[in-house]
């Protein structure tokens, strides 16, 4: 066997170690006068804009720097981050469940998943948040009971559905509808042969999802989910509808209303949103690298 293979030449590594003696062509770089002109014009423009922004007293840069790290703003950043992360986690868990239900053999589960997406994608997020805020008015008490029988436990709704919980459920459930569609696209993009190959090995359905399909679908799922996470970060500014009053936008608005100076505090909020977005983009980069294993994009893996 071994000798047959040697004869066929397949034992030889495809990469040659010796460096061939090649005299490369001498290439004279082309001149690009247009490029330099464009750079010059843009540089002048950038300087002018920079000057206009930094010297214009209406920006109130002193107020900006006073409030950029003020406790109220920092607390708003914390709450905004928390809302984003928790709501997104809720959305991902719900969407994962929905996408499995969508693929189920059970027609009831399939219709529930379909109906969920239809409802939460079809109504405005602002309306949904208002609704969650009014949940305690609709159902003053939450109770666990045997249908038409005695109650087992009962609690006041406002103790459970606090503004923070209402905001998280509102944002998370709305987002889950969009994520379901993204996840579905990810799984649909896979070759049917992948599941068949796993089945042929004797793998059970849950394991096929987890070990074979999910890691491959992630490659397609992560970029739009990153988009959605950044969208969620900014969507948290709508929780005012609940009303939830501790997030970044509410905090900076409150300060600017007190000072009658909206512009520097809008800049403060904008700076923080940009900073968090940049952080999220770094996270996305590493996730993409991890799930890009074996499919180019990862130069470190190439020989």
């Amino acid at each position: 066997m071994a000798s047959e293979i040697d004869n066929m030449g397949i034992g030889i590594k495809p990469v040659s170690i010796e460096k061939p003696a090649v005299t490369r062509n001498v290439v004279v770089p082309r001149h690009h006068p247009g490029r330099w002109l464009a750079i010059a014009i843009l540089a002048v423009l950038a300087l002018q804009i920079g000057q206009a922004v930094s010297t214009n007293p209406n920006f109130h840069w002193d107020i900006y720097s006073t409030y950029l790290f003020s406790p109220q703003v920092i607390r708003g950043v914390g709450w905004t981050l928390l809302l984003t992360v928790v709501a997104m986690t809720v959305a991902i868990v719900v969407a994962a469940l929905l996408v499995i239900m969508r693929d189920s053999d059970n027609p009831i589960l399939r219709s529930i998943a379909y109906g969920w997406v239809w409802f939460f994608r079809g109504t405005p997020i602002y309306t949904q948040l208002l609704f969650w805020g009014l949940f305690a008015v609709l159902f003053p008490n939450l109770s666990l009971a045997i249908p038409f029988g005695p109650e087992i436990v009962s609690v006041e709704t406002k103790l459970i559905v606090t503004p923070a919980i209402a905001a998280i459920l509102g944002l998370g459930f709305n987002e889950s509808a969009y994520l379901t569609e993204i996840f579905r696209a990810g799984f649909n993009s896979l070759d049917r042969g992948q599941a068949e190959a796993a089945q042929a090995l004797g793998m059970k359905p849950a394991k096929i999802w987890w070990r074979i399909l999910m890691p491959q679908a992630m490659r397609v799922i992560i970029p739009p989910t990153g988009n959605e996470t950044i969208g969620m970060l900014k969507m948290t500014s709508l929780v005012l509808a609940v009303p939830f009053t501790l997030d970044l936008t509410f905090a900076t608005n409150a300060i600017s209303n007190r000072l009658y100076l909206p512009i520097p505090l809008l800049l403060v909020a904008g700076t923080w949103y940009l900073a968090i977005t940049s952080l999220l983009m770094v996270g996305q980069h590493f996730l993409e690298r991890h799930f890009g294993k074996g499919v180019s994009v990862h130069p470190a893996r190439m020989e």
Partner: protein, 258 residues
């Protein structure tokens, strides 16, 4: 009873398969003894791949029975009625077979070694070290020593197919199923894959091979099946059948491919 004493490794009784109104398999009987290499040939659309996929239940059958080592596949039969098994039970039954696909279907997010280890470590639950040794040994057996850390995308078609063969062998199946294993390969790569399959055939493992390689059928096949329009038209010993086909449809097919 679900199991009966059988001298056959694979036994298919009167298999029918419908796709909507298309009658893809029309009452096929196939018996493969332990250690036999059964080769199925025939024009495309004749149902030979479908038949192969019925053996490991990648296709459901519309009528008939499939037995592996005497065990009824996919159902329990009581009082003349068929009760389907759960997906988990079907997965367990599939461990009796290993399958090699026309288009390899390696897991692209795993290295060659991880592909081969996947079955032993995540289906059989072997410890990692044991699975790794097994995978190393199998990669050597298919002539890919030192290629374990490559991803499928970094391997040639022939190399990928050999990894796929190692992956199927890692489950130590009773029967190996090959679905046109060389049809998607560049001509110069066909030989290296066929050599690996020939070597396996000589080692005594039971195999069912769907192929267009008539030379392969003649050389290593112990049983040749010619299918056309969803039926087995003729079967017998490869050399005799290829030299002297009895059925005019077999003769017509062979005259085109030989």
């Amino acid at each position: 009873m679900d199991a009966h004493i059988s001298e056959f490794c694979v036994e298919m009784q009167n298999i029918h398969k419908f796709y909507g109104h298309v009658h893809a398999l029309k009452g096929v009987d196939l018996r493969v003894r332990r250690g036999e290499v059964c080769v199925a040939i025939g024009p495309s659309g004749s149902g030979k791949s479908t038949l192969l996929r019925c053996i490991n239940q990648l296709e459901s059958i519309s009528a008939g029975r499939v037995f592996l080592k005497g065990e009824l596949q996919g159902f329990t039969e009581r009082d003349g009625r068929f009760h389907p098994l759960s997906k988990g039970q079907i997965a367990t039954q599939r461990r009796l077979t290993g399958m090699v696909f026309q288009r390899f279907h390696l897991f692209p997010h795993m290295t060659a070694l991880e592909n081969v280890m996947e079955g032993p470590s995540h289906v059989k639950g072997w410890p990692r070290e044991q699975a790794r040794r097994k995978a190393d040994e199998l990669l050597n057996r298919v002539g890919l020593e030192g290629f374990g850390n490559r991803y499928p995308g970094q391997l040639s078609g022939g190399q990928q197919q050999r990894v796929a063969i190692a992956r199927a062998l890692a489950m130590e199946p009773e029967v190996m199923l090959f679905d046109e294993p060389t049809s998607a390969l560049d001509p110069e790569l066909v030989g290296e894959v066929l050599d690996v399959i020939k070597d396996l055939a000589r080692s005594g493992i039971t195999m069912v091979v769907v192929t267009h390689e008539i030379g392969f059928a003649r050389e290593v096949g112990s049983h040749l099946v010619f299918m056309d329009q969803g039926q087995i038209v003729e079967e017998g010993h490869p050399r005799m059948m290829l030299a002297n086909p009895q059925n005019p449809r077999t003769a017509a097919f062979l005259s085109k491919v030989l």
